[in-house]
């Protein structure tokens, strides 16, 4: 594809769009597909898909627990109406009513639903808007315009500089400045360079990256291509979690389509820049989210971490300099290049610029994916998801198995990197589990420790043996057989694991325990005193079980 063709295609696509009388979008994210969205799409396509009425399948619209979702827009520019929990029959009836000029109430989400209107979508700007299985649809929504801009108007070092200036920090968990990482890779002495997208979203309860990969795969490819142009890489890899077959399928399709169109491959957009992307599918190992383990897995080996330094920027895949960023981080790149670092920096709070995608689940009225400026208070996120279901707010778990919890007394905490760290938690990748007052925090800690025990790769002793011992202590505590002494041992063990483990998995494995101990020590002690669980959760689970 030439540069003019890209411009022309984007323009044409926009014109066809405005010509359609009614546009019906059906959400085809995994949760909506699981509840029957494909049947809804098929029924609507069979009856309507002609010129006057456009019927498309899109990526995730956000409020997943209300799916299958459809959205109806008309060309008079009326606000889009969302309908929840549709079936082929209700969807057809709704569309018929719209065609008669009505605006049916049945199943319609309120126009002012906070979940929808209070988001600020940057990374997910096209999710739920464009068809993830069509390059044309991505182009229509501005896809690859930033890549064109970078190649045409910017030198590679200027791109690095722009990312540094934006203040973007890694969205995978640690929050390392992205621009700095890019400049390190660019400056590294290396024969070849690689760009890797980490889509091994292993934290239980996190599904932001799945959402982006399923909903707007071209956004990821574009971000990676811009990164490759900036650091001088020619080969990229996307590592997708094996549990995400739909994301893998759509990415594969997107890579093929972009390659056929000349947006990936040799001499991209008539430039001297060449870049190809290959897909790697994970095989179910949480530790592969750690960058050195991930690289080992890409090279076909056991996903066991190695000590850093050397960092991947110095010596990564096949001993060459390698840039690894999280999927969501790559999702931020195109908007920064298109709209500028200053614009990006104007969103969020000092030190944490831009937006963050959160997947909110647990005891909330609406489970789903939301994108808000960094620094938005936790209270606001809970309110946006419709409040707590079946009780009062007790705690929110952030950062998954490597994170801690936020108690009700800190509901007004702004969700930014530093504030969460000061509470003993981490931003993590963005999985947010909300718990009501019927949940037991010691059980929660035990759950995460069992998880880390299963997922420990076994290479270093503090993690391999430490998770096992800690899980046993937690079992004793939750079943009411422990003493105060066990609690002290548990704490000591946690500090030891944090200090002595080889990689992030072992170092962070004690965080959920220390976090719950910090805010809910009385609950642990109640288990010791009462010889059981005050909420009754642990008592119910006194069965032989593998979890």
């Amino acid at each position: 594809m030439t540069r003019d063709e890209l411009r022309h295609k984007s323009r044409c696509a926009r014109e066809t769009r405005t010509a359609a009388g009614l546009r019906i979008s059906v959400c085809l994210g995994s949760p909506c597909v699981a509840t029957g969205a494909e049947a809804v799409l098929r029924a609507l396509r069979e009856s309507y898909g002609d010129r006057a009425i456009e019927v498309i399948g899109t990526g995730c619209m956000g409020p997943c627990s209300r799916g299958p979702l459809i959205r109806i827009e008309d060309r008079r520019g009326n606000r889009a109406a969302y309908y929840e929990k549709t079936t082929p029959a209700t969807a057809m009836a709704t569309v018929r009513a719209h065609l008669e000029g009505l605006n049916p109430d049945q199943g319609r989400l309120p126009a002012d639903l906070p979940f929808l209107i209070r988001q600020q979508r940057v990374v997910l700007a096209n999710s739920g808007i464009c068809d993830p299985e069509s390059l044309a649809s991505s182009l229509e929504n501005g896809g690859y315009a930033a890549l064109l801009h970078a190649i045409e108007k910017m030198a590679p070092e200027e791109v690095c500089h722009e990312i540094s200036a934006s203040g973007l920090r890694g969205r995978g968990g640690a929050g390392y400045p992205t621009g700095t990482k890019w400049e390190l890779v660019r400056a590294a002495k290396s024969r070849r360079r690689y760009v890797v997208a980490n889509g091994d979203e292993g934290d239980p309860g996190a599904f932001m990256d799945r959402t982006l990969m399923e909903s707007d795969p071209h956004r990821l490819l574009e971000g990676m291509a811009i990164a490759a142009y900036a650091v001088g890489a020619t080969q990229g890899f996307i590592y997708v979690r094996g549990e995400y077959p739909l994301a893998a399928r759509r990415l594969r399709q997107a890579i093929n389509e972009a390659t056929r169109a000349g947006l990936l491959g040799p001499h991209i957009l008539e430039s001297g820049f060449s870049f190809t992307i290959r897909l790697r599918i994970g095989a179910g190992a949480f530790v592969c989210g750690e960058e050195t383990a991930l690289m080992a897995s890409i090279m076909g080996r056991r996903g066991q971490p190695v000590i850093r330094p050397p960092y991947p920027a110095q010596r990564g895949l096949w001993n060459q300099s390698t840039l690894i960023n999280n999927v969501e981080t790559f999702g931020c790149i195109a908007p920064i290049i298109s709209k500028g670092a200053d614009w990006f920096k104007s969103i969020g709070v000092p030190g944490s610029s831009g937006t963050k995608v959160f997947s909110i689940s647990g005891d909330v009225a609406t489970v789903g994916v939301m994108e808000v400026p960094l620094g938005t208070p936790l209270r606001e996120l809970v309110a946006m998801s419709g409040g707590i279901s079946n009780g009062n707010f007790k705690a929110a778990q952030t950062g998954g198995a490597s994170g801690g919890c936020i108690p009700a007394s800190h509901l007004d905490t702004p969700m930014d990197y530093e504030s969460l760290t000061s509470l003993g938690s981490i931003m993590g990748s963005g999985g947010l589990i909300i718990m009501n007052d019927r949940r037991c925090m010691a059980d929660m800690a035990r759950f995460f420790m069992r998880f880390c025990q299963d997922e420990s790769c076994g290479k270093c002793v503090p993690c391999r043996a430490g998770t096992e011992q800690a899980a046993q202590l937690l079992r004793r505590i939750t079943s009411g057989d422990a003493t105060e002494d066990d609690l002290v041992k548990l704490e000591e063990l946690c500090h030891l694991m944090g200090d002595a483990s080889l990689c992030g998995l072992g170092m962070a494995a004690p965080t959920p325990v220390l976090g719950t101990l910090r805010w809910f020590r009385d609950e642990y002690q109640a288990h010791l005193r009462a010889g059981g669980c005050p909420t009754g959760v642990c008592d119910r689970e006194k069965h032989p079980c593998h979890v």
Partner: protein, 171 residues
Amino acid sequence: MIPHQDYKTEADRHDAMEQILRQHRHSPDALIEVLHFAQENYGYLPRELLGRLAEQLKLPPSLVYGVASFYHGFRLEPRGRHHCTVCTGTSCHIKGGTALLAELERRFGISCGETAPDGSFSLDSVRCLGVCDLAPLAVLDDDIISAETIDALADKVCQCLAEKSSTGKSP
């Protein structure tokens, strides 16, 4: 990657493996890709196959076995004709996913990770499928099953399994 097909005979499967190896130019780096493909064709990773792959990729058999046994996603034993996976991610756990697993273990008389003696059914768990809005949930073959309570969900799993078994439909 070659699209998934139902290979009828051992010879077909063998040819498909040869083709995927050629496609990856017998590169040892492609081991995980090749194992994924092999599992799709054979349903699991038989020992003899691992040995053969080691030879063809010029890798020590211990390394191939090491990789195959490291990842939870690779199976060294065949599954049952129907397979149920219970999600035990965080959201599912707090909503009873762990209790669901125990209930299914009780009803089917097998432990998580096991196959019924007659090979009709197997059960295991996964840490989060990322569809937390449906929590708690189980996946029977390719169908996601969800319900409000654990008992209702276990009933649904049994009912779906009975339907599948009576129609003789294999996944």
